[in-house]
Symmetry: D2
Subunit: 251 residues, 4 copies
């Protein structure tokens, strides 16, 4: 499966790292805002020897139509910023190239655009594209469904400098219908990221815990999504749509 | 819902404690092997003032047919030993009284009998009847289904004197297709019971943790089952059958 | 070692339970406010068959001087309320009977009285008399001393109904010079009591965790203190005074 | 404080990274086996702009006496292999340059040499030079001293490919006089490194947990040691010698 990656910041680099090392996927090219690494390849930058072309292009010097004409892809993976969808969205959807977006936050306008694009191609969006966090959301919401009156609290731990409540914790609270007062934010040292959902029953406790080790988890999540979108019809999908079918196959 | 309880050992007492305090259930009577507490009530023994009759009977001095004729119940909850099913099984199934068995281990003969009885009434069996452990089994097996190649390890912690690997850990290993070498048994002090399933991905970790606080969790589990068997057709059910429908209702 | 116990509420009963079962200690009697169980023994109430007399007396019907004259003790263990010290303090200190108080909170007046009494006998006071919590305070304060700039956060988890921040968490915060904003209070289900101190370094994390299983931990703590006060001179001691000598003996 | 670093593998690079970013320390040079990066600086390799010279030298092309004559240091930090001590030991000890060795394992001969060198200079050796692990060893051994009969179990978690029991877990077991059967080794995914010591009391549990985030923890540990060796007399020290004085200053 041929991938075009939009964005090459910290997350983008980690994702490129994972794609380059996965035998079923080829990183065709990277398109980014900055012109700094133009004419280099993601392989050189990351020090990985593989066959993928992985050429880096800058947005201002690149005509996307032309790039796709000479080097098309099966899917776009977007780890850049919310506005990028305006510049690549229609061009790739017309060509029926799948869109996998991991943008943290879209405004209403962008969500509307995603919906429009999804009539021409498969469009996927998840603000946190790791498998672990999405599984946790799914499993937690199942337990809440089973035991609607159980007490639920969330603990999220991150490095000292992280401001505010983590976006993932907010998403967990929304999904489980909790108040912000049920979220306990711990900020200390260099903790990469830990989310714990505590279900307190009268005589027992269930805890669902997700710990991040590195940003490469985004890459694995994006490729998991790409694999699972394989034979999907045109439409707009989220991570729960991807996980749901696994339930029915459960032995 | 009227309940007859078979067994009044440590677990049985804890279960009686929960039933007596639940407004939607009435503990009609307790039937036990030993004659020690005969003519007392479970209310007196446990020091709870409620309306439930909760009279304690001993097996040797009690004719179950007669007892049911004057004081019938909607469901039997069995926390005694494996053989009890032979003495009460046919009598209650004929009367279409539900059977909820929490016996840890049945031999093939007893399993066959359960199957037979289930043509006349609703029969439920779960070797560990807590909601938390069964949810954990269900959620863990879902994640294993999503990520079949993930590394899975189990840590179970119990009080120093507990011999062997815990039955729940063995059940987790069977469900997830693990080897005994993937189970780590910690025995220390007075730990009541903790089970942790670790899913190790390359760049993230998911942990499902269940902690027992007291045996009363069995009681809550049994009543949860009783509620969920309410409009079920005759047949043999396990805990997964009870949990599965919650998935489809998931918002 | 002969013990007189003041107080027979939930904590007092758990403490009696531990003393009765410890071969090196004998529970001579229990003195309590309420007259309800007068003329019974703590052995009967708790269902333990041992040689300890363990007779229960009520304050209003008992002359402590007289009781001590016919049945003296080596130490008083006090799990009653703050005011009790006024009624028994001088009487027992004059007889050089050790005082071990586990009262959660004393006003200045009572602290002054303890100080006075300590010129006549060994007086010990700790608001939380479990070994685990006191060790945690001690070990945490040592790490803070080693790494004064480390980020420290506290998570305390208790049953849903527990109001406010736990006294132990407040004590941890005082000891480590933290703000209340560094304490995260989780209230869910029937959690007995868990305190976690997180030390976040840039590239590593250290966690000290204490979990309560039952109130009997108070009893073990009180007897640990009693053993360690054995050859102490008259004076006022706290738990840190008891733990400090273990450091010097450390191999 | 001027530092010369021996070794520039994964750990050595992480240590250089920390030294370069610490304002109180200057990385004068790096001496390593391989000649690959000769004539580069550690600053270039790690992409850090600072004033430290940090020139990289290879052992085969470098005369250490000459290097020290033109660019002396206050301390050597050794993250290379056990044999290196033979080539640099006497040269630096003669010049009263401190030796801080983080070599995982030394044979008897090398330990004897360290002892000899320590008559001429301050010599420090710790097989695991992180502050967290050494604090954990120290604090665990204190609790074992307080409660010699408590049940102790160790859980160590690492990435799937790590063979055998972790060296740190073995060290914990030796320090606490445990059997290998008390160590539970979990291998799953990409877990960086977690060590948990569980103290199981009858009615409470204490857990000491250390989690590694990255190898840079070695660098912080080495600099912590360097600071604490500042006014020490010649002699051979280990990490416990460094931690012990903090106890006496404990408020």
């Amino acid at each position: 499966m041929k991938i075009g990656l939009i964005g090459f910041g910290k997350a983008g680099k980690a994702v490129a790292n994972v794609i380059l090392q996965h035998k079923d996927f080829s990183l065709e090219w990277v398109l980014r805002k900055s012109g700094t690494l133009e004419h280099s390849t993601a392989k050189e930058v990351l020090g990985i020897s593989v066959a993928d072309p992985a050429m880096i292009y800058s947005e201002q010097n690149t005509d996307l139509e032309e790039l796709l004409s000479k080097n098309t892809v099966d899917a776009i993976i977007d780890f850049s910023t919310a506005e990028s969808i305006y510049s690549y969205g229609r061009i790739v959807s017309k060509r029926n190239i799948k869109i996998i977006s991991a943008i943290s936050h879209y405004e209403e306008n962008e969500k509307k655009l995603l919906k429009e694009l999804s009539s021409d191609t498969v469009v996927f969006w998840s603000p946190n594209i790791t498998l672990g966090v999405n599984y946790l959301l799914f499993a937690a919401s199942l337990l809440k469904n089973i035991a609607p009156n159980v007490d639920i609290e969330v603990i999220e731990e991150h490095f000292k400098a992280k401001p505010g409540i983590s976006g993932t914790a907010v998403k967990i609270a929304e999904t489980l219908d909790l108040n912000t007062s049920n979220i306990n934010s711990v900020r200390a040292g260099g903790i990469v990221g830990k989310h714990e959902v505590i279900f307190g029953f009268p005589y027992q406790t269930v805890r669902l815990v997700h710990e991040s080790i590195s940003r490469e988890a985004f890459g694995n999540g994006a490729l998991f999504v790409a694999e699972n979108l394989d034979k999907k019809k045109n439409g707009l999908y989220n991570f729960e749509d991807i996980l749901r079918p696994y339930f029915f196959n459960q032995s």
